[in-house]
């Protein structure tokens, strides 16, 4: 106990400190940031773009490195990271042709209802996945950030570049829509 008291506690570097180090070209800082944010970012991307999560995950970090000099250390790193990732998700969605989007929807339907061989991790997935992924893009991103990522309305507003009032109204519409769908399907749980 006495020995522990003698060991000075090392100050924990904030994400923003690590970004400053990354701006100076330190690879360890990138590694530390990635270790801190790999899990939340990966689960966010899985909910946002499903199978494309791996690609967007890699691209997000590449963008962080390329745009590192533009990061303002007064800003919150995680908000900036999720902003980059979400913009990549939006870009991807825009690039997909309507045929591609229909194919994606079909694949999601299969994953949710037909227990596919190619996606064993989702074998027991409830059709809830399909319901959330079927929400309009703008509602889906707000719902995922608010409910699953536990982001505040102010952070969501910053990530999406919209006013807080718009965050609220999109959230309201998304939740109401899901509630109505669940009620119509008799899913009372």
């Amino acid at each position: 106990m006495a020995a522990q008291a003698l060991i000075p506690s090392l100050p924990v570097e904030t994400d923003e400190d690590l970004m400053v180090q990354l701006q100076a070209g330190q690879e360890d800082a990138l590694s530390a940031l990635m270790n801190r944010w790999r899990a939340p970012l990966y689960s966010f991307l899985n909910r946002r773009v499903g199978d494309a999560a791996d690609d967007v995950f890699q691209e997000s970090w590449i963008r962080v490195v390329r745009a590192r000099d533009r990061f303002d250390p007064k800003r919150k790193f995680s908000t900036w990271l999720f902003q980059i990732a979400n913009n990549l998700c939006r870009d991807r969605w825009r690039r997909l042709s309507s045929r591609g989007r229909a194919l994606e929807a079909f694949k999601r339907e299969r994953v949710a209802t037909h227990v596919p061989d190619e996606a064993p991790e989702f074998r027991d997935t409830d059709p809830m996945r399909e319901r959330v992924l079927s929400l309009p893009e703008k509602q889906r991103e707000v719902l995922i950030l608010r409910y699953y990522e536990d982001r505040s309305e102010a952070e969501i507003a910053e990530i999406l570049g919209i006013p807080k009032g718009t965050v609220k109204s999109r959230m309201h519409t998304a939740v109401r829509s899901l509630r109505e769908t669940l009620a119509a399907e008799g899913d009372t749980e």
Binding site: L22, Q23, G25, E27, L30, S31, M34, N35, R38, A39, L41, Y42, S43, N46, R47, D54, F57, Q58, W61, I62, R63, V64, V65, R66, A67, R68, D69, R70, F71, D72, Q83, I84, N87, L88, D91, E121, F122, T125, D126, M128, R129, R131, V132, Y147, Y148, G161, G165, K168, S169, M171, H172, V175, R176, L178, R179, L182, D187, E189
Partner: protein, 145 residues
Amino acid sequence: MTSDRRDEEIRRALEAIAPALDRFEVPTDAPDALVEHTMRRARGPLLAPARLPHESASLLPSGFGRELARLLAVTTPVAIASALSAVFFWEQLPGLLGALLPASIATGATGAWALGAATLASLTYGSLPFFAHHRAISKLEEVPS
């Protein structure tokens, strides 16, 4: 609907559907292989100067021209409408004021009004490049894609 009431409604609705939302499960962490591969890919850009692929060596930020065109597209119709109304008032104002004020004051007031309108237009158009620059920079910072 008031903001507080809407917040409360959202909170209650979320609570109600939370069990269903929780069934949307995804992998909880990125695979180690993916993280290692990402680190390997990131080393190249880390050694290179921080720059996005579409950036040019120009002093102006990428997207400046687009932002300027956008601002011009918004302000020009307003400016045209203002100019038309200015012409109308230029024609009518001395007559209207002349009925109420001495001729010299009416002419002075009309001139002051015209000068004010011209100054406002100059300030507006003169500041557009600054606003376009600011917007282009903001977008690069916030949307590095």
